[in-house]
Assembly symmetry: C2
Homo-oligomer: 394 residues x 2
Amino acid sequence: MIVQKYKDMLQGKSVIRQLSEFATARGQEIGYENVFDFSLGNPSVPVPQEFTDVMIKMLQERNPMELHGYSQSLGIPSVRDKVAASLNKRFGMNYTGNHIFMTTGAAGAIAHAVRCVTEPGDEVLTIAPYFPEYAPYINLTGAVLKVVSADTENFQINFEAFEEMLTEKVTAVLINTPNNPSGIVYSTETIKELARIMEEKQRQYGHDIFLISDEPYREIVFAGVDAPYPSKFYDNSLSCYSFSKSLSLPGERIGYVAVNPKCTDADIISVMCSQISRGTGHNCPPSIIQLAVAEVLDLTSDLSVYETNMNILYKELTDLGLECVRPGGTFYMFPKSPEPDAAVFSEKAKKYDLILVPSDSFGVKGYFRIAYCIDTEKVERSLEAFRKFIREMY
Amino acid sequence: MIVQKYKDMLQGKSVIRQLSEFATARGQEIGYENVFDFSLGNPSVPVPQEFTDVMIKMLQERNPMELHGYSQSLGIPSVRDKVAASLNKRFGMNYTGNHIFMTTGAAGAIAHAVRCVTEPGDEVLTIAPYFPEYAPYINLTGAVLKVVSADTENFQINFEAFEEMLTEKVTAVLINTPNNPSGIVYSTETIKELARIMEEKQRQYGHDIFLISDEPYREIVFAGVDAPYPSKFYDNSLSCYSFSKSLSLPGERIGYVAVNPKCTDADIISVMCSQISRGTGHNCPPSIIQLAVAEVLDLTSDLSVYETNMNILYKELTDLGLECVRPGGTFYMFPKSPEPDAAVFSEKAKKYDLILVPSDSFGVKGYFRIAYCIDTEKVERSLEAFRKFIREMY
C-alpha cells in the first residue's frame, strides 16, 4: 500500500526551490541575466581540466571490463587508500583506506554515518543556522533531529544552549563547518570547546557521542581564516565529505565518510556502512568517477571567485548599514534582515529582482542567505539593485 | 553509540564471496586461467563502443558546468523521457518521464520501491530460488521478507504455496525474471496467473498489493523463449531495472524504477521516491552516466556469449546425467546436485577446480548455481573437469 508518510512530504515545498523557480520564471520575462538570483548553492566555476583529461584518458585507454567492473560496496581499494593519504598529508591524520567509505555525495555519507551510531529514537543535535535538509536526512533514519539555537553574535556555537540539550538521549552531534547558510567557519577555540563538552558528557553518560562533521565546503576557506579539521580534536568523529563544491561536480555525486582511526570500533565502521548500504540501496559511486576523482584529490576548481564575490557584497551591504558576520568560507553570507520578518523582506526584494532566501528554514529568524556562487560581473551589477532596495524600503 | 544490528551482520559471510575468494587464492597457486570459477555474476563482455564514444564526446565538447551540474533527485528530465519512450516502444506501455525514477542500480531501485509501498512490519513475498541479497534489502527497510517455496519442477512459481502465503499482511510481491539463480524466465502463463491471484487478493483484502519486478537480466533472453514484461499484466507494478548486465556497466551503478501508469498514485510515486531518497541518502546516478546511457538505451553489449555458454554446459551436464531445467535467459543455470547436500557437492567440486555455488542461500536445497559469464574458451576447457568430477564422484 502506498505509504502516507512520503505522500504527506509532497505537500511541503522548499522555500529555496520556490525562489529558484520564481527566478527562472522572472528570467523568462526580463532575461535571466537581469535576475539577481542568489537562491541556489551551485558551483559557478568549472571542474579542473585535469579531471576531464583523466576521464577521457581512462575511456580511451583502459580495458572497459576493468574500468566499468563491479567495485566493492565500500569503494575501490586504491581510491580509498588515496583519499586516506591525502587527508593524512593535509590534516596530520592517520587514516588508512580501511577508514574511508566512498559515498554518492554528502547525503549518502550522512545517511550512513547516522545509521552507524544511532538507534531509532536517539537524538541527534545540530546547531542553528543549519542546512534544512538535515531534518529529513536525520528523521527518516528513525533518529530525532534537535536544533540548538544560534549564537547570533558570531554564528559559532551557543554552548550554553548546546550543553543543556546534550542530554543522555543524544548519541550524535551533526555540525557543518564551513557553514551553510552563515558562511562561518568554526574556530579552533569553538571545536575545542565542543570536543571538551562532548567528552565530558560521554564520561558522564557512559556512552559514546559521535561527532558527524559535514564538510562539503571544506576547501572554500577565505584568506587568513582559522579552519581546523574537526576530527583532529575529537576521536569519535565521522567526517562526511562531498566533492561537489571543491571540484564543481555536484551532478556526479561523489563523497566519502572518513572514520577517525581513534574512534570506537574504528576498524569496522566502514564495513558496517557497507552493511547499512544493503538496506538503503546505496551503491558506491561509479567506478569511473571514483577513479578520476582519486587522480585530482589535491586539486580544486578555481575557488577564488567566491572570496572576490564575498568581499564585494560584504562591503556594499555593510556600507548600506546591514549587519553581517563576515563569512570565513563557503559561497554564502547571512546578513541580518532590516525588518524582523525575513520572509517579508525576501518578498520585497523580489520587486528589485533580488532573490534572497529568508532564514526561517535555517532555524533562525530575521536573517537572509545570499548564495553568491555566480559570476562576479553579475554580483557587481546587483549592487545597484541592493542600493535601491535598501534605500527605498528601509 | 555503535549500532549492534549492523555489527552483528559482519559475522555472516556470503557463500558466494567465500567461493570467489577461494577461486582467487587458488588462482594464485595454479594460474587463474586454470580455475573454473563459476561463482560470480559479473558480465564478461565489454560495454558497446557507442557508450564510450558518447562519454568521450560529452567530456570533450560539452560545457562542464552543465555536464556535471546538479540534477533533480528524480533524474535528468530528458533521460527519464528517453527511458519512458524506449520502454513504450519495446513493451507497448504508456510511460511518461514522470513515471521513471533514476536510481543507482537495481539495489537503489528496490530500496525505493519497497519503501513506497510497505510500512514497517508489512510482509513482502519473494519466490524461491531467489537472490540472497533480497533478505537484507527488504528486512532493513522494516518490512519482513517471506519466501515462497520453489516449484522445482520447472522453477516457475509454486502457486499453491504462493496463494497460501499471500495473506492480508502482504503489501508487496518481489519477483526476479529472468531469474538469478535458476536462469528461468517466467512465462506469460505464469505472469497471468500471478496477476490473477494478486488481483483477487487485492479485492478480498481491500488494499493494494504491489508487484515489484526486479529485471536486471531483462535483455538476456535466449532464442525462442517467451519473456513477457510483467508490468503489462498487472497494474500495480513497479519495475526495477539496472543497466549492469545489459550494457556491462556493473561498476557504474545505474538503473531506474518504472511506475506502471495505471497503478495507484502512479503520478506521484516517482516524487515520493525522491522524498524517500532524502532519508536513504540516495542520490540519483551521476549526470554524465545518465546522459551517456540515455544515448544507448536500445543497445546492449554482445550478449550472445551467454547463450553459447549455456548451450555447451547444458548439453554436457545433461549428458553426464545431471538434471537441469534449461535456462531461458541470464548467465546462470541451476542443476540438481547429485547428492542431497549441495554444500558437500560444492566442496568436492573444488578439488577439480570447479567453483560452483550451493543452492541453500538461494532458498532451496540440493541444487547448485553455475554463473557462466566467462569466456567460452574457458567453459570448453571446464568440460573435462566436470566429466572427471561427476564420473569419479557419482
